[in-house]
Amino acid sequence: MNTPAIVAAYEAPYTRHPAPERTTEHVLTEAFFGAVEQVGLPPAEVDGLGVSSFTLGPDHAVDLAWRLGLRVRWIMQDPHGGASAVNLLQHAVRAVEAGDATTIVLVAGDHLDRAAFAKLAAEYNRATAQALAPLGFGGPNALFAMVTGRHMAAHGLTDTDYAQVAIAQRWWAGRNPGAVYRSPLGLDDYLNSPVVASPLRRYDCVPLVTGADAIVVSAAPGVADRGVRVRAVAAIHNADGQEGDGLSTGLADVGDRLWEQAGCGPEDIDVASVYDDYPVMVLVQLADLGMVPAGDVKRFVHDRLTARRWPLNTSGGQLSAGQAGAAGGMHGLVEAVRQLQGRAGERQVDGAQRALVTGYGMTLYRYGACANAVVLEGAR
């Protein structure tokens, strides 16, 4: 069996106000070549392509292969938003192990302006189009405001506690030249920011950007041995049929198996990219995976995140670096690989050897239905 590794990770620059020529195809192309050039692979050696994008249509993955001049043995397109990156990685690793492909590029990204986002939000799925959009709900903020309200009540938290997630991630963003928001964020800034959907404030919501991310999964001799290994991957989608409270994800059901497969535990993780569409979901996923000691969320955010700068979403996460549509999941994966390869610059976590990356998303009616996670290990 071939042994795949993630051998490159690249992010096409995120921008809030993109030039017109930075179309979806343009940023996906930029990310694709950025990744393969990083590892010195001729594009002709790429024999697998995985794509996630909300705005690539009417084109599909094979259109992108055609336009990039790729002749591939394996192709896949994943529409599952924040969970698409780990989904694609899960399949790509198995494909390389099985010999269906040797070198696969996974790329995700979007050119998303306000009009494109509004269309996406209103037509996300049939339930949204038929049962939410007619309300004038305006997108998922209101739904996650409700989730946050329930989480507040369940854990005795206040807006000051959720602020710690945004503040901590902004500290990391200040060390990432690629983050769209880098200036320091203080508690007063957070508390004085506009309420978007109570209790959510501006800094609890991701800024939309245009951009793309890509990784290369390969078993090619001389390349893979320097790469980042996938120690474990686990997923559960539609865990509760949207009939729960949204305060846990499918990760709660697969966490034990993930750690067992990885041969390590939460305490062994050096850096984490946890899908951060909203601060509440960061805290929910961490708790699902047993990474909040004693389940004490309040203590975790103040002691670990803010005071001890536990390395969570070290790019600044989507909250500060931006959400490039379907690249939202791939963004955290790229950051984790960078950390494990020692390429994270000023924000490099010393000795980072093991990383956790999670994906979450696809709000079907009340909250996200997709959840997955991967444990990575560096080659150093």
């Binding site: 049939r126 189009a129 038929q130 049962a131 959009a133 007619p134 309300l135 409700m146 009340r366």
Partner: protein, 105 residues
């Protein structure tokens, strides 16, 4: 005036469902009966948008959870309607009627 909303119950186990799907999440049954529900308890309220609208998580007496738009003042319970903007009710769009609701405005 409350018109109520149409929900479905599984003929096999009685589990309620909204929005409608082809399979019961509890027993995998595929036969359903429709019925009208007139009231729900208000569990959470969120104000969003400009002009501001009040969206709510609503729970019917038999536990079906809905998202609706409030047009009344109560924070505890509300009559339900599948028609938009009826004073005193919570509007819960009926799947399949979205286009008509939009064109009615």
């Amino acid at each position: 005036m409350s018109t109520g909303i149409t929900v479905r119950s599984c003929d096999g186990c009685g589990h309620g469902q909204f929005p409608p799907r082809p399979v019961c999440s509890q027993c995998t049954g595929r036969e359903f009966s429709s019925r009208t529900v007139h009231w729900a308890r208000i569990e959470e309220v969120v104000s969003v948008g400009d002009p501001v609208i009040r969206l709510a998580t609503l729970r019917t007496g038999d536990g079906i959870v809905l998202i609706g738009r409030l047009h009344g003042d109560s924070d505890t319970s509300t009559p339900l309607s599948d028609q938009p903007d009826i004073p005193g009710t919570a509007y819960v769009p009926a799947p399949g009627r979205a286009g008509r609701d939009e064109s009615d405005r």
